[in-house]
Structures are given as structure tokens and as C-alpha cells.
Assembly symmetry: C2
Homo-oligomer: 384 residues x 2
Amino acid sequence: MTASQQKKRLSILGSTGSIGVNALKVVENLSHELTVTYLSGNRNAELLIQQARKFNPRAVAIVDDAAAGKVAAALPDTEVLQGREGLLELAGRDDVDLVLNGLVGSAGMEPTVQAINAGVDVALSNKESLVMAGDYIDRLLTQTGVKLFPVDSEHSAIWQCLTGEDMVDVERLILTGSGGPFRTRDKETFDSITVAEALKHPNWKMGNKITIDSATMMNKGLEIIEARWLFHLGPDQLDIVVHPQSIIHSMVEFRDKSVKAQLGVPDMKIPIQYALTWPRHRPADWEPLDLVRVGQLTFEAPDLEKFPCIQLAFEVLKEGGSAPAVLNVANETAVYRFLRNEIRFTEIPIMIEKALAAHDLIEHPQMEDILSLENWTQHYVNQL
Amino acid sequence: MTASQQKKRLSILGSTGSIGVNALKVVENLSHELTVTYLSGNRNAELLIQQARKFNPRAVAIVDDAAAGKVAAALPDTEVLQGREGLLELAGRDDVDLVLNGLVGSAGMEPTVQAINAGVDVALSNKESLVMAGDYIDRLLTQTGVKLFPVDSEHSAIWQCLTGEDMVDVERLILTGSGGPFRTRDKETFDSITVAEALKHPNWKMGNKITIDSATMMNKGLEIIEARWLFHLGPDQLDIVVHPQSIIHSMVEFRDKSVKAQLGVPDMKIPIQYALTWPRHRPADWEPLDLVRVGQLTFEAPDLEKFPCIQLAFEVLKEGGSAPAVLNVANETAVYRFLRNEIRFTEIPIMIEKALAAHDLIEHPQMEDILSLENWTQHYVNQL
């Protein structure tokens, strides 16, 4: 076996997004053990072309049809797949060791299912996969033996804290959240929150959709639902603590009241690299955590009045069935409407609540149920 | 096999001390899986008798000859071993599964060696064992296959954070310390520190000797030396951070700059129980950590000018050989002189430095070298 054959072969879905770009930095640092087999982008043709020239993937997929021609022309020696179908085909290829799903939103769900069906482990940054289809994907994982590796900093923290531990000994998971840009803002002024204000996250540099989710704290709600499926614990074992400095990324409380936490500077490269190199912590030359310089870490209870999205997430988690999928799509649709200045910040949770009330709960949704609910919810929220 | 035979059989050395008393509370809570086979006390006959009546050990040892008669009279059906020899004999018995060494000071070193030679794993609270005879004990562990389980909250934290991890991936260990009662006190007034002031620890309720060590911060120095032997890392991979709230008990930084920490309320029962039930975190009904109530955790660099004992510990760690043993005994002797109001608080490090300068370094001390150095150092410091 040559050195090149021993490298871990990666398929990076969403390589032109925030997670994908950071993942490629990790690959570059660990080029002796990681290699890129596939890349996919949504519509940023220039960046995808640049990445393909640097990492030499076997094939790339580009979702946007207008951008596809440009990519194909620029990469004459590379297979170029096109459109949503191209992405799904790429996601289902089995000649890789790990798919990193860095896609944004509910569009990332089917690619996760494709990879699992191909028998390939998935490093999952796309939390919507489990929020929308947690029960379905969970059964699929049991059938196929495929593993999911969390990439979200919170779930990576919990995963790291659980290394070598017995789940029976876990009392609860404590997800930390910065509280977003509006933690200290007067609730009475929430109606006038602008897109620019909501896009200013205090600690993390992320994509637009997730940054708004952080501002509404729906991000924490989605993470609670994701944690339920990743770690198989009930709603009463999942807690949220607001921690504005984003240094403790999450915690596990064990039954002897010992708590383990994972800490680090707020840099997505750390959880991304861990998912790509698990179970090892490979050397990296980025900035270490200096707690003396940080000085203090603070903690608060989340304000559920100010951030009703958290409450909505706990409610759909208890309700189960198709409710989390509707919550997720309604949130996503409302967030994009907010980003287009069509609705106010405070209308996001109202629209989600309306969609949840209007939809007919399906107890055990199949994939086609989820996909048709996605259409229904998008349409419903766009009409409001 | 009966249920009783399946229980883990414990020998608790120093059962009337702070660690021993807490350990017996743990045993009481987990009486379905832990049983007490041996107990030993120093001179508190009443408490030892009370403990023996409650836990029905096969034998007890009492070091103080004057107290021994009282214990023997009160426990006619229990074997009572007497004096230092009695303690050493008890420590060397092999019909137990685990020895908890909760003895205070250098007197705890030989019992650790006795237990290891008997092939019994040791839950080690007596840090002096490794500080004085780290190299010797380390070789003994390799020969016998016996395991040491840390009980100190700092080392337990590190041990827990290392669960399931590869030591090759560890960048450094970060031991936290409260900074003791004099963290914010003006250095110019250190000469006038009274015994009563030094015994007021802000967070932990511990024995007198260790509480003074905490006030001089020598405790952190001894822990650094202990960590070197428990986890086999060099002085440059061992750091100290002052953390006044004593909530984060210590941390491990991995090579990817991910940091794991173990947290909890400052209660020795947590690390004691973990050492007794490892690798499991058994249910316990004591107070869980409530970070929202704690509110904030702060961090500072240790002040080496104010607390020269830390610097002395790093120096002997680099020097190696018999230097750590001399440091430990000189410190212990000076602390007891301070507790007897014979010397000033600031004379503790001065006496240690003098003893270190006066002693002839032995590169690879044997047990008899360490014991004779112990005598020499006690004598030397008491004469100063």
C-alpha cells in the first residue's frame, strides 16, 4: 500500500461555504494523512475552481446551473456534476472514507442520507439533517453501521467529553451558547432589529443563516434537537447555559456530578479537524487557548421570554414526529424572509408557531413525508 | 459467587482524617458495591472505634501506642494492629482490591510502596509518595503491573480528561489552584501572617498541613511533581493557572489546541468516589454544579514572587534525583514549625531553600536513601 492510498479520502460537500473553507485549511495542514476526493459548491464558481485546482479532486459538483458552465470550462480534466441531482449523486459515492457535510439548511438532509446509504461515515456540520429526519436517519445508521461525527462546536465538545465514557453514567448534557448579539438588548426594541445588527455575532464568524439563528437563539434549539439524536438522551437531559465568551463549547454532567467540558478559542477549525482525524488530536499551529488572557468566563440562564425560539424547540422535541422538521423549515424560510427585509426579527418565532399549529402531525414520517412537509412549510411561511 | 464476594474490598489508610471520613461517606452511599476490609487511624481512637463498629473491617491499625489500648478494648472481636509497624503490615495485606492511601505527609510513602509490593492497586491521596519517591515507585509499578488512581481533585480532573485519549496527543496539563487565602494580600505583610489566617482556605475544607501548603501554594508545586509521575510528562508540559473559584479542577490541552476540563463543586467526595468506582461515574445525591449560580470563573497567572514555593518545586523537578524528597520533607517540617508558631510564614520557603542547598544530591535514590534523607532533612530544618 502506498502512502497516498493510506490517506483518508474526503468528500467535502459545501466546500465554498464557511465550514468547507475551514475544512480545506485543515486538509492543507494535514496533507500527509488527508486527501480530497470530491468537492461541491452551491454557486460560487470562482472559489470552487480555485479549490479544485489546488486539491485536485476526482470530481466536483456545482448546484447552480448558471455557474456550472463556468466550472466545466475552467476544469477540463475534472468530472463536473451539475444541479441538485449532481450534488446528490456525488454525496452517494462510496469511494471515499468520510463525507464532510458542510451544506447549509434543509438542503443538506438528503446528501446525508445518500452518504449513509452508500455506507460512508459522515462528519456532520449540517444540523438540519438530524433536526428534520433524526428518527429516520437514526434507524438508517443502525441498519448500515455508518457513524456520524459531529462538527458543530457544541456537539464536538460533548463528543470529546464522552470519549471513553459509558452513556449510562451521563446525567445531562449542557450546551453553551453565546446568547448572540441581543443578549443584553432591551426586549422592547426587538421589533426594530435590522439585518445588519443581527449579522454581527460577538464571537463566531459563520454563514448568514446560522448567524441569524444565533441572534434568535434558534441555533441553540436546533442543537438541542440534534443532540437528542446524536447522543440518544431525552429532552429532560438536555440543558442550555448562556456563556457569552464562547470558550467552553459544551459540557457533560455525569451521575456522580462530575462535569467535563471542552474549551478552546472560538475557531471552527478545531471541531472540524477533530471530526476528520478522530479519535486523534493531531498537532495544529493555530492559537492555543490562554485562559489568563481571557480572564473570566461568565454564565447566565437563557431568557426564554426574549428568545421564544428555544422554547419552541423544546416543545417540538417533546412532540416528536414531524414537528421538528416543520420547525426547522419554517425557521429557515422565515430567516431568509428576514434577510430579504420582508419581515421583522420578532416575526420569525411567530411564523414558526403558526406553521406548527397549522400542520398535521405525522407520528413516524418517512423521507417522502419529510420532503413534502418541507414544500408545504416553505409555501405556508412564504404566504404569511 | 455471592454478592458480597463481588464487592470491591477496600483498605482505607488514614480513615480518621479528612480524606478517610469522606471516603467512608462514599462507601456508605455505594454499600452495594464497596466494602471496607481494613481501616487505619493515627491517634483518633474514638473515631476509629466508631468507624469500625459501623463498617466491620477485618482489622484496624492505630499508629499511636497510647490510643491502641483503647481501640483494642473497644473492639474485642476485631484484629487491632499497633504502631507504625502495624500500619505498614496492614498496608501490605493482599486480600483487598484497592488501598486508599489518605495518609498525610511523608509518612504515607512507605504504605504506598507496601501496597504496590503486595500487588494491590492504590487510590492515592498521599501526594508525598510520588513527590518523594516518584522514580522509585514508577519502576515498581512497571515491575508489578499495579495501577495508581489519583484522588487529589487536580489529578483526578486530569485523569478524567484523559479517559479514552492517547497520551501522544497531549500538549500540556494545566493544573488550577485557588491561589489560597493570600492571593490578594499585600506581599509586604506576609511576614505577619498568623496560623489562624493561613488555615482559612477560601474553598476547600481539608486537613491543616495541606491547608498551609495551599496558603504558600507549595501544594500546587507538589501537585506538579506528582503529575509528572502520574502522567509521565516533563516540566515544560506542566502549567499552573490560578482560578480562585475552584470550580475547574484542572485541564488537559491536546495538540490540536482542544482543551478538556473537569469541573464540579469543591467536594472531595467526587474525586474519591471516582477513584473507588473507576471507570464508572456512579450516581451520587450530593449537590450538582450550577454554573449559573456560580456566575463567573476567573483566571490569573500565579505570582511567583509572592509564592516562591512554586518556583522551588519547578526547580527540584528539573534537578530530579533526591531533590524533590528534600523539598517535600523540608516543607513538611517547616509547615509543622509554623503551625507550632515557631517560625514565620515567610520562613517556610527560606528553610526549604537552605535544606536543598545543604543536601548532597543523590541521582538515583533507593528507598533507604530516601528514608535517611527524610531523617536528615527533618533534623536539619528543625535545627534552623
